[in-house]
Symmetry: none
Subunit: 415 residues, 2 copies
């Protein structure tokens, strides 16, 4: 099996200032292409460390993916090491990357300084994959038995470049066929899911593997991988197992096409030519932000009232003062009124509302931190449901928002 090492370069990782998320993303991309990651490492912006470690990884692995150490500022040293390791004699300006540098800086209204232009210069014994999302090119160093790809450290540029990198790997290595299918679920905790699925999972053929990928905003994604057999039969064999999985999980499955909850909600709205608005207290705009993260969402998303203060719940959404005084803002009556209020205010077909206690302060015996009420409303009916979580502020808010979207998804789907 083709093996890879992933190496991140940057002092900021080693002092714990930032958490390396690139490696995890790159690992998933490599893994689904059938490449085994045998090692990840993070080292400092130091020429000697970089030289020593990259040399060793090129000996031990078929593929080495490097991120970081390519920015225009002083502490960026990866290029120096690649110059040396590749036995280059001079730098060559890459016209494709230079064009991108000009385009990006122009769009920001900035001049192209010498420091920027120099980013397009690459060691003459390295190949280049143009980085369309940033100023530093992807450099490719081929040795006798291995290949090294040097990617920028900025996560969205590194992630963006991986598609081209995997394509390049496919052109040079014969990779084993692995078929993956993702089934996205929401509302069942990983441990409960694992219990529910145990008999099914145990009965899977030897060459199929199930992975649980939990995410606070997406729920638990189940990834079924088929390693053996011909590519032509892998999909059918996978589907045969999924038929049984669907019976166990029912409508806890929200997508089999790598969609997010907000994409599914958007799709359901488009199918019904319907519009949506949100009224958010504890989620503070996160649901609206998630909905509008989908390109084209203006087709169905009208807007939101983030009613953080009770005065806004009353004054803008029309929640009766009596409800706020007697039931409180975190209550079934309040989220029902919020959902109905925002639907009428914006004229949307559907709406969703949240009110809860994200913490760390504000909890009581009756209404502890982690409690959230979710309301959903259409012209025909309004419903409310409550959830309890117990995490830190950010994690609670994420769970609140995702649970609201999942409640909304089921509500719209049943219409």
């Amino acid at each position: 099996m083709t093996e890879a090492s992933i190496c991140t370069i940057g002092d900021e990782i080693l002092i714990g200032q930032i958490i390396d998320t690139n490696s995890s993303h790159i690992a998933r991309e490599l893994e689904s292409a059938g490449i085994k990651v045998r090692k990840m490492l993070s080292i400092a912006d130091d020429v000697n460390e970089i030289r020593e470690n990259l040399t060793r990884e090129l000996q031990d692995s078929d593929i080495v993916i490097v991120t970081g150490g390519l920015g225009p500022t002083k502490d960026d040293v990866t290029k120096k090491v690649l110059f040396e390791l590749s036995g280059s004699t001079r730098h060559v300006e890459n016209p494709g990357q230079l064009e991108v540098i000009h385009r990006i800086l122009a769009s920001r209204g900035l001049d192209v300084l010498e420091i920027n232009r120099a980013q397009a210069d690459v060691p003459n014994k390295c190949e280049v994959i143009v980085n369309r999302l940033g100023t530093a090119p992807v450099m490719v160093l081929r040795t006798s038995g291995s290949v090294l790809y040097s990617l920028p450290g900025v996560p969205y540029e590194a992630i963006g470049a991986m598609k081209d990198v995997v394509e390049d790997i496919r052109r040079h290595y014969r990779l084993e066929d692995i078929y993956h299918k993702s089934v996205m679920t929401y509302g069942i905790a990983e441990s409960s899911l694992s219990n529910m699925l145990e008999p099914w999972e145990t009965s899977l053929p030897e060459d199929m593997h199930l992975a649980y990928l939990p995410d606070p905003l997406k729920g638990v994604t189940l990834r079924l991988s088929v390693f053996g057999g011909e590519k032509s039969t892998q999909a059918a064999r996978c589907e045969a197992e999924l038929v049984r999985l669907r019976k166990i999980l029912g409508d806890s499955i929200y997508s089999e096409n790598d969609e997010t909850l907000q994409q599914v909600v958007g799709r359901l709205l488009i199918e019904r030519h319907a519009t949506l608005s949100t009224a958010e207290s504890c989620t503070g705009g996160m649901i609206a932000s998630m909905m509008t993260s989908v390109p084209g969402s203006s087709e169905y998303f009208l807007g939101s009232v983030v009613s953080y203060a009770n005065s806004v719940k009353h004054g803008v959404l029309g929640v009766r003062q009596e409800i706020l005084d007697t039931c409180g803002a975190v209550s079934e009556d309040c989220v029902r009124a919020m959902a109905e209020g925002v639907r009428k205010l914006t004229g949307s077909d559907f709406s969703v509302a949240t009110s809860g206690i994200a913490g760390p302060g504000g909890g009581t015996q009756d209404k502890p931190v982690g409690l959230v009420w979710v309301g959903v409303s259409s012209a025909e009916r309004t419903e409310a449901v409550k959830f309890n979580f117990n995490n830190d502020r950010l994690r609670n808010t994420q769970r609140f928002a995702a649970s609201a979207l999942d409640t909304l998804r089921k509500f719209i789907a049943s219409r």
Copy 2:
């Protein structure tokens, strides 16, 4: 300087299923104790890989911290390797850890099985630090020049054990003091910043190091580290350099205390006993979401109207239809009207509004993708400013939101 390697063991990290957060936490603990982390690595649950890598790290570093590979179901692969590397001849039961195992399982209503009891058995040439938060003990292996600490993989147990580990290190090593200071800036790109600071940076003493840490939501953080000298003088020497830095950067510096933009805005509001509301089009609730991510933000944040549709800009915020028809939604007039509208609607002292084109669709020659208008308003005056970016949808939205918060910060600070 005392140097350390951090090694995490676990297949789940290598396939990208989970992101390693232990290493980052351990690095921060080591770093603030004056220990330099020279390498982080993640390897598989494989005896050969573990043996080979730990042997190398014990040669190259003074201190090696290992997490993972200790659970009862993982066949204790780490313990096997430590048995071998330490030259142990048998396992010895650690009574302190056995007591913890009994206590923890009893509290969960579980019996102590043989598999649990065996966790208290440690190689006889290893020392033990009792893990009070879990069942697997911390094992300590001292070689001639180095020391290895093996911690459990569960994050809260690993983090909990680090206090004892650092204490143990202090007993055995004389540690150098390192002083760090972070200066957070917004509005100047990393490459321009590097140019502006070059004379200053070049003149820094040999034992001071400057790092640039860019982030779309935080701008560029400059971290100045002082390696040499006595602890008592490091802060004063750093401050002497910062005096010059502040003159160069002026109000582009928004914090010297590791605050985010939303925390600074919150602090400015609290100081003025003032409140805030937001009116968001292209940012879709992200600004409200960022503001409410700060605990206690209900003290000053009243709410937001996410006016994604023009009907909401007009109907809820009171933007005149004439403005929408003639200038369009992405215009100075519109964001001024939005900012004033939401301030009056919610009764807040300050407000901020955004309207722009996040992409990928919707751009025109006059109003390209990446253009955003930001409006800020108080009872005394309303201002508007535009920015141009050129990224993907998520990145543009993040830049829009951060630029709006930075504009708001300067607006409030000048009042």
